[in-house]
C-alpha cells in the first residue's frame, strides 16, 4: 500500500494528467450532444453576461449600418401603414353595405392647409381634377365628416370645412330615431355645431350619435358627425336647438378622403324634373 502511494506520488504528474484527461474525455463523450441543455448552466450566466456586454459594445461599430436598415424599414413600414390607413378610411365600420346604396368612390388626399379659427374656414387638398376631384364632393376622414369640395384646379382642390357658416347645412340624422335635420356650424368653437330642424316631439338624449343621412347625396349614409351634448327648445319654434360635439378633430387634420357619389348627376337630374313639373 505504501509502495503504491509512493508510486502514485512519484508519478503524480502522469496520474494527474490521466485523471484530468479522463474527465475531459468523459465530458466530450457524454456531454457534447446535450451541451447546451445541461452543461454549466449556472456558469453560463457569467459567459452570457460577458457576451451580452461585448455585443452591446460591438453594437456601436454597426450603428451606421443598423441605422440605415432601420430607416429603410421605417420607410417601408410607413408606406404599408399609410396604405392600411387609407384602406381603413375607405371602409369605416359605420358604412352600410347594401345593394341600393349609391356607389361611392373614395380618393385619398392630404390636407395642405386648413384653418379652424375663422368664421369661414376653408380646407385645401393636394388633389384636383386630374385625380378626379369635382365640386360638391364630400370630404371625410376616419373620424367623421370634414367638409365639401367647392373649387377644383388641376392638382388642388379647396372646400368648405364643416367649420364654415356658408356651408348651408349638411343633411344629418340621429341614429337612435332616424330623424334627420341640417347640421350647421355655430361659429363658436371648432368642435361644436348645431343640429337644426329636429321637431321637439322627438325623443332626444344627450350622447346620441349624429351621422350623415342619405338625403344629400354628397356623403354616404352613416358617416359619423358627432354626439349630442346639449339640447333645448328654441322659443317660438317647434324645433329643438341641439348642440353636437363633432367627432372630427379639425386641429389635427392630415389625411382625408374625398367621396364621390357616381350617381350624383343622375340624382340631381331626377330631382330637377320634379321641380320642373
Amino acid at each position: 500500500m505504501r509502495s503504491l502511494f509512493r508510486f502514485l506520488l512519484r508519478n503524480y504528474f502522469l496520474m494527474m494528467f490521466l485523471a484530468l484527461e479522463t474527465i475531459s474525455l468523459v465530458m466530450i463523450v457524454n456531454l457534447n450532444n446535450y451541451q447546451r441543455v445541461n452543461f454549466f448552466n449556472s456558469s453560463n450566466d457569467l459567459t452570457g453576461a460577458i457576451n451580452e456586454k461585448y455585443s452591446s459594445f460591438d453594437d456601436y461599430f454597426t450603428l451606421g449600418r443598423t441605422n440605415a436598415r432601420l430607416a429603410a424599414d421605417n420607410a417601408s413600414l410607413r408606406k404599408q401603414l399609410q396604405l392600411m390607413m387609407l384602406q381603413q378610411e375607405k371602409y369605416p365600420k359605420t358604412r352600410p353595405d347594401t345593394v341600393d346604396a349609391p356607389a361611392y368612390v373614395f380618393t385619398s388626399a392630404k390636407v395642405i392647409s386648413n384653418s379652424t379659427n375663422k368664421q369661414f374656414n376653408y380646407i385645401t387638398l393636394n388633389k384636383g381634377s386630374r385625380q378626379g376631384i369635382k365640386p360638391d364632393m364630400g370630404i371625410i376622414n376616419s373620424e367623421g365628416v370634414v367638409g365639401v369640395i367647392t373649387n377644383v384646379s388641376a392638382n388642388y382642390s379647396t372646400g368648405l370645412s364643416l367649420l364654415n357658416k356658408r356651408l348651408m347645412g349638411i343633411s344629418a340624422k340621429i341614429t337612435r330615431n332616424n330623424y334627420s335635420g341640417a347640421l350647421v356650424w355655430d361659429g363658436e368653437h371648432f368642435n361644436t355645431a348645431d343640429l337644426k330642424e329636429i321637431p321637439f316631439n322627438v325623443m332626444v338624449n344627450v350622447g346620441d350619435s349624429v351621422v350623415t343621412s342619405s338625403n344629400s347625396g354628397i356623403f354616404p349614409e352613416g358617416i359619423m358627425i358627432g354626439k349630442i351634448t346639449k339640447y333645448d327648445v328654441e322659443s317660438g319654434t317647434n324645433f329643438f336647438n341641439i348642440k353636437v360635439e363633432l367627432s372630427t378633430n379639425f386641429k389635427t387634420l392630415k389625411y382625408v378622403e374625398v367621396v364621390q357619389n357616381t350617381k350624383h348627376a343622375e340624382l340631381k337630374k331626377l330631382e330637377l324634373n320634379n321641380v320642373g313639373e
Binding site: 503524480y12 504528474f13 502522469l14 494527474m16 494528467f17 484530468l20 484527461e21 474527465i23 475531459s24 474525455l25 468523459v26 465530458m27 466530450i28 456531454l31 457534447n32 451541451q35 447546451r36 452543461f39 454549466f40 456558469s43 453560463n44 457569467l46 459567459t47 460577458i50 457576451n51 461585448y54
Partner: protein, 168 residues
C-alpha cells in the same frame, strides 16, 4: 512571486477574452480557426510545479469550453499540452535555461528555440482539439486540413503577439 501571480491572472483573463470574443469570430472559409489562448500555458515559468501546470491547463481549457459550449474538448487539449510541455521545453532548450527558473519567452530562448517550442506545442494542442471536435476519423483529411491551416494561423499570431506585446 505575488506580482507574477497577479500578472498571470491578468494574462489568463485577457487571453480567454481575446480568444472567445475576437478570435472565435474569425473563421476564414470555415477552415481557419486560430486558438491563441494556449499562449498562457506556454508562458508559465519553467519551474512551475506539475500539479499547478496541469490544474491551470485544465481550468483554462474549461473556461474556453464554457464560452464555446464544447465541454471537455478544449480542456482535454490543454491538459495534454500541459502534460507535454516539460518534455517540449527540454527538447528545445538547454538544462541551464530551464533550471534558472525563467519564463519560456522569446528573449530567454532565442527566436529559433522559441519558434520550435511554439510550433510543437500548437501542433500537439490543435491535433487533439480538431479530432476531438470532429470526434471521428471519417472526414480525416478535411479535419487534417483544418488542423494544419489553423495551426499555421495560430503560430503566426502567437509569434506576432510576442513581437508586439512582450517585446521588452
Amino acid at each position: 512571486m505575488i506580482k507574477d501571480f497577479g500578472k498571470y491572472i491578468i494574462m489568463f483573463v485577457v487571453l480567454v477574452l481575446v480568444q472567445v470574443l475576437i478570435l472565435n469570430n474569425i473563421q476564414f472559409s470555415g477552415f481557419i480557426n486560430p486558438y491563441v489562448y494556449i499562449l498562457f500555458i506556454l508562458l508559465l515559468p519553467f519551474t512551475i510545479p506539475g500539479y499547478l501546470l496541469l490544474g491551470l491547463s485544465f481550468i483554462l481549457g474549461l473556461s474556453i469550453d464554457m464560452f464555446n459550449n464544447t465541454p471537455g474538448i478544449h480542456a482535454g487539449a490543454t491538459v495534454l499540452l500541459g502534460f507535454m510541455r516539460p518534455g517540449i521545453a527540454r527538447l528545445v532548450s538547454s538544462r541551464e535555461i530551464i533550471e534558472k527558473g525563467n519564463t519560456p519567452n522569446m528573449t530567454q530562448l532565442g527566436f529559433a528555440s522559441f519558434l520550435k517550442y511554439v510550433v510543437i506545442s500548437v501542433l500537439v494542442h490543435h491535433l487533439f482539439l480538431f479530432y476531438a471536435e470532429a470526434f471521428s476519423f471519417r472526414d480525416f483529411f478535411e479535419t487534417f486540413l483544418r488542423f494544419i491551416l489553423s495551426s499555421i494561423f495560430s503560430i503566426v499570431i502567437i509569434l506576432a503577439s510576442q513581437f508586439i506585446v512582450f517585446k521588452n
